[in-house]
């Protein structure tokens, strides 16, 4: 490679490194704001503020869903990494709300660190399969 071209190449690499570094620093500084929601761990440890509007997300703990017979209020637990948070939500659950699936809610933490949500979105995971396969998995699971 001739010296002029080598110099231009170095200049471009330097430019990329500089911009990359600046972006990395900016993203680290904004880390908390880029996270779309707080995990149950952050909600119980005190990282998530109490009484302010926040988003929280996790996996719906199977068997924890309880419906209030009088209105649309449901309570359930969500977890990630073993930490559980109780969620209270009044409204219509999204179509893809399932126990064992992810959800992201918007609402406030009360003093007992229960998450009072007024909006609930279903978070889909990256797994795709036909219904028959899921049936087969369930059967194998029940048989064992």
């Amino acid at each position: 490679m001739n010296p002029v071209r080598r110099q231009r190449l170095l200049l471009i690499l330097l430019l990329l490194a500089g911009v990359g570094l600046a972006t990395t620093l900016a993203l680290f500084a904004l880390k908390e704001n880029i996270n779309h929601y707080f995990s149950p761990n952050q909600m119980t440890s005190g990282e998530a503020p109490i009484g302010q509007r926040i988003r929280g997300g996790g996996i719906v703990v199977p068997g924890s869903l309880e419906r209030n017979p009088d209105d649309l209020t449901v309570t359930f637990k969500m977890e990630t990494g073993g930490t559980e948070v109780e969620v209270v939500y009044t409204g219509i659950l999204p179509d893809l709300f399932r126990e064992g699936q992810g959800i992201v809610g918007t609402g406030k933490l009360d003093k007992n660190r229960r998450f009072i949500a007024d909006e609930l979105l279903a978070k889909h995971d990256e797994n795709y399969m036909p219904p028959e396969v899921q049936d087969a998995i369930d059967k194998a699971h029940n048989a064992s």
């Binding site: 071209r5 231009r8 190449l9 471009i12 430019l15 990329l16 911009v19 990359g20 972006t23 993203l27 880390k31 880029i34 996270n35 779309h36 929601y37 707080f38 995990s39 997300g57 999204p94 179509d95 893809l96 399932r98 699936q101 992201v104 609930l120 979105l121 279903a122 978070k123 889909h124 995971d125 990256e126 797994n127 795709y128 399969m129 036909p130 219904p131 028959e132 396969v133 899921q134």
Partner: protein, 245 residues
Amino acid sequence: MNWTFFHKLGSPKWFYDISGRWLPWLATISALLMATGLTWGLLFAPPDYLQGNSYRIIFLHVPTAFLASAVYVMMACAGAVTLIWRVKLADVALKCMAPVGASFCLLALITGAIWGKPTWGTWWVWDARLTSVLILLFLYIGVIALRGAIRSTTTAAKACAVLSIVGVVNIPIIKFSVQWWNTLHQGATLKLTEKPAMAPEMLWPLLISILAFYLFFTAVLLLRMRTEILNRERRTQWVQQRLGG
């Protein structure tokens, strides 16, 4: 290694002649693959156990989203070649890629929103993945607008090359956004290192669609580049010969 082929490809005249021979093949194969992949995916692949039929938009969403990122990386590479080696053809490629990439990016955003409504319960959220892809669209529009704003071809080439290279830092952010931060968008289904988290009867039509979209992009790019070359070289003898003869 014999580099003659690449040097010849760098000359607009050679590129024009060779791409003319490739184009019919590329167009035919991509049309066949797209018909196969999309028909298979949209009509014959089994429904998903949770999402039912709404997941089928994946056969459009994933290929367009892949292309949106890939085209930007190609633009950055073309920009580097323009700046370092001053290959005229690289700038032609960069110019012709930008609107195509922007279209793919817009399609990925729109198909994603249409899928998000029934799946998540919302058209749009400001999570890291969705926001970074929106920034990608703005970068594309920026590159297109920058070229439009500068009259001199050589100055425009340099400016667009620099912007393309700088913008490429956004690509790893898009790719890893779903791992680095909590996002509503799910993680990657297709991974290079692991088995894909998708049943094979859904995966095959998806892979065929992705390949079809790549070939479609190549065909469209060649077509646009040939027009651009004719326009830029219109005063040369070879263009006069080919058009006048």
